[in-house]
């Protein structure tokens, strides 16, 4: 077991014939993910990835023909909101949107529409997620993982890889690693994923990688203090970020004095969670917390 994706995942990739979509779909297939369909309007009936995956014009067609239950989106930002709504409309239960730069007001509509339909959205502006040894959906390199019992949740991409690599190098395997995305409005929050890890019998410890901006880390800390008894470690990026500037991610901004790394660190520590000064310290913090 693991969370959100696994062997039962039957994935449709929206934008499978694009450069990014094709490259990462191949990597997902090679990892063992059941990529059952692709969607590119106007290319229905073709085969993608050297004849390995059938292409459909619409997600509805793909779901009807293949029983796809999850979607991964690689379409440009201007079309991504519609792609997310299309996936939800076609009846998949999980939508993972990799696309960066989706307008925030579009995301408001998409967020509330998918919530109302009980469709789980990961992202946008995220690297996706991997249930180690079972399925990877998105762009996280498969070779950095080792199977194990630590769940990881992060707002970042390459910083996630950095931490995963450090854990793998230290002999600490992962159950599922989830990148929730760096935008101000994302489908799934830290708290949502922490709740799933907390209930997952195969996840014994949890790592959380936050960054400046918003107050989702603070909310997650309050949730952990109330609900989570599994060992945890955390890292918060952006201690040196100046206020009022967006640090690459649309959501990474200190505004009106709120959303600082200090505030997040203090909230996590108040909840009894050890916060690392460097990503490389995370395995040691987990060992201190009783993880082997």
């Amino acid at each position: 077991m693991s969370i959100l994706v696994g062997r039962e995942t039957r994935l449709v990739v929206q934008g499978i014939t694009g450069r990014e979509g094709a490259f990462h779909s191949t990597a997902m297939l090679d990892y063992g993910t059941h990529v059952v369909a692709g969607v590119t309007p106007g290319k229905g009936g073709q085969m993608a990835l050297d004849g390995r995956v059938p292409v459909f014009d619409t997600v509805a067609d793909a779901v009807a023909a293949t029983g796809a239950n999850a979607s991964c989106i690689f379409v440009p930002a201007a079309f991504a909101p519609d792609a997310m709504l299309e996936a939800a409309d076609a009846g998949v239960s999980l939508v993972v949107c990799i696309t960066e730069g989706v307008p925030a007001l579009d995301m408001l509509r998409v967020y509330h529409t998918l919530r109302a339909r009980d469709v789980r959205l990961i992202g946008p502006n995220c690297p996706g997620l991997t249930s180690v040894g079972e399925a990877k959906v998105g762009i996280i390199p498969g070779n950095i993982h080792a199977p194990g019992t630590v769940g990881l949740v992060s707002r970042s991409g390459t910083l996630t890889y950095e931490v995963v690599q450090a854990m793998t190098d230290a002999g600490m395997g992962q159950s599922t690693c989830v990148g929730i995305g760096g935008d101000p409005i994302v489908g799934t929050s830290f708290t949502d994923v922490l709740d799933l890890f907390n209930r997952d019998p195969d996840t014994e410890a949890i790592v959380m990688i936050g960054e400046i901006g918003g107050d989702e880390e603070e909310k997650a800390a309050a949730f952990c203090a109330r609900e989570v008894r599994k060992p945890m470690a955390a890292f918060i990026a952006g201690r040196t970020a100046p206020p009022g500037r967006r640090m690459g991610h649309a959501g990474a901004i200190i505004s009106g004095g709120a959303g600082t790394a200090e505030s997040k660190r203090a909230a996590l520590e108040a909840a009894g969670i050890r916060v690392a000064d460097s990503p490389s310290h995370i395995p040691a913090l987990l060992r201190d917390a009783g993880v082997h």
Binding site: P103, L105, H112, P141, E211, R245, M247
Partner: protein
């Protein structure tokens, strides 16, 4: 992207918000001519995006056109928090009876466009939030329905808008909402919104901040960008498609990924140094982008060393290493470079970097320590 007051007012006026638009001037003579056309007392306002311009002497009253010219002469060229004033707004002065704050923000916590209103106008809303939080109304709007009449009434009663001005208030809030949605804003605020001695409701100052991710569908708004208030290196980075923010330290950073870029800066600080910038080079790290990033970083004379941190992942480390070596050959200024490449083909990258006599590091902590040491050695030389 922040818009200047006069641009923000242009947008609000298009949506029917009552205001005294005034005229833009870039010389004292233009300010005088504007005051003559307006007639009566005017206020001369520096157009800068940084806060606190009033305290810095950037906003002044003038009773006559001669005085407007004189005030403009004082304000143009004024340094307000590092920004030199080049543009003025000359607007009719208003007799203020009552001031309010009225704004809309994209509230990420509430996941809603939210009305913010306060009867304590004229001061920054963050200040009111600290000193008197109960004086602020926060009203999240239904994301699918938008601004409804009952939302408008609630704000009007909260602010104590007199009955005869409620219709006018409704058109202010509706105009502000339409402007916010139409421009894909993150923030649109009127501060102060005033009732004049004559009993008129007017927007005296306005600020709009746009969602950068939505600018692709607003070329007219993108054209309102004020390059006077942007670091030239940040303008160059934006045009090269590189995420860059200039800071005050001596260690230049080049990283792939925003979270990892922030972390790299944090570790430079932890190792006793100061980062000179935030720079996310994005995926791929091809030679031409690396070269552009080098130029942008080295444009800052404070930079004494560069720390390059690339998590290969899908990109091949040896390709990145070749790109770095190739780009470095074209540089005019030499500083020590510490390179850390991890992930796919990281081992193959090492001999390439070693041959080019670049300092290498295996861990990020080690890379940060070496960059700090190299910068110190460079500064001491």
């Amino acid at each position: 992207m922040k818009l200047q007051e006069y641009r923000s007012k242009e947008i609000l006026a298009r949506h029917g918000v009552p205001l005294l638009a005034g005229e833009v001037a870039t010389t004292p003579e233009e300010a005088r001519a504007a005051a003559e056309r307006i007639g009566g007392p005017v206020v001369v306002k520096a157009q800068v995006l940084v806060g606190g311009r009033g305290k810095a002497g950037g906003v002044k009253l003038a009773a006559t056109p001669e005085e407007a010219e004189q005030r403009a002469r004082e304000i143009i060229g004024l340094d307000i928090k590092g920004v030199t004033v080049k543009t003025l707004l000359v607007a009719p002065a208003a007799d203020i009876a009552k001031e309010f704050y009225l704004g809309l923000i994209l509230d990420r916590g509430a996941r809603a466009v939210t009305v913010i209103a306060s009867a304590e106008g004229g001061v920054e809303i963050e200040e009111t939030a600290r000193t008197n939080p109960d004086a602020i109304l926060r009203l999240p709007l239904d994301p699918l329905l938008g601004l409804q009449d009952h939302n408008v009434r609630r704000a009007a009663f909260f602010l104590g808008i007199p009955a005869e001005l409620r219709a006018a208030f409704s058109s202010v809030l509706r105009g502000l909402y339409d402007a916010f949605m139409g421009a894909d804003a993150d923030l649109a605020e009127i501060n102060p919104l005033v009732i004049t001695e004559g009993g008129e409701l007017l927007a005296l100052d306005a600020k709009i901040v746009l969602d950068d991710s939505a600018l692709f569908r607003h070329p007219d708004l993108e054209a309102m960008r004020d390059l006077n208030e942007e670091e030239p290196s940040e303008t160059a980075a934006r045009e090269a498609g590189i995420n860059f923010i200039k800071l005050d330290g001596s260690i230049g950073c080049m990283v792939n990924g925003a979270g990892l870029a922030m972390t790299t800066m944090d570790l430079v600080k932890l190792a006793g140094g100061e980062p000179a910038n935030f720079l996310d080079i994005g995926g791929g790290a091809k030679a031409d982008r690396v070269a552009a990033a080098f130029r942008i970083i080295l444009d800052d004379p404070n930079v004494q060393a560069i720390l390059i941190n690339i998590f290969g992942g899908i990109t091949r480390g040896d390709e990145v290493a070749r790109g770095i070596v190739e780009a470095r050959a074209s540089l005019e200024r030499e500083v020590p470079m510490v390179v850390r490449i991890v992930g796919t083909n990281a081992e193959e990258a090492k001999p390439i970097l070693a041959e080019a006599q670049l300092i290498t590091a295996d861990s990020l902590d080690d890379a940060a320590a070496k960059a700090v040491a190299a910068a110190r050695a460079g500064a001491g030389a």
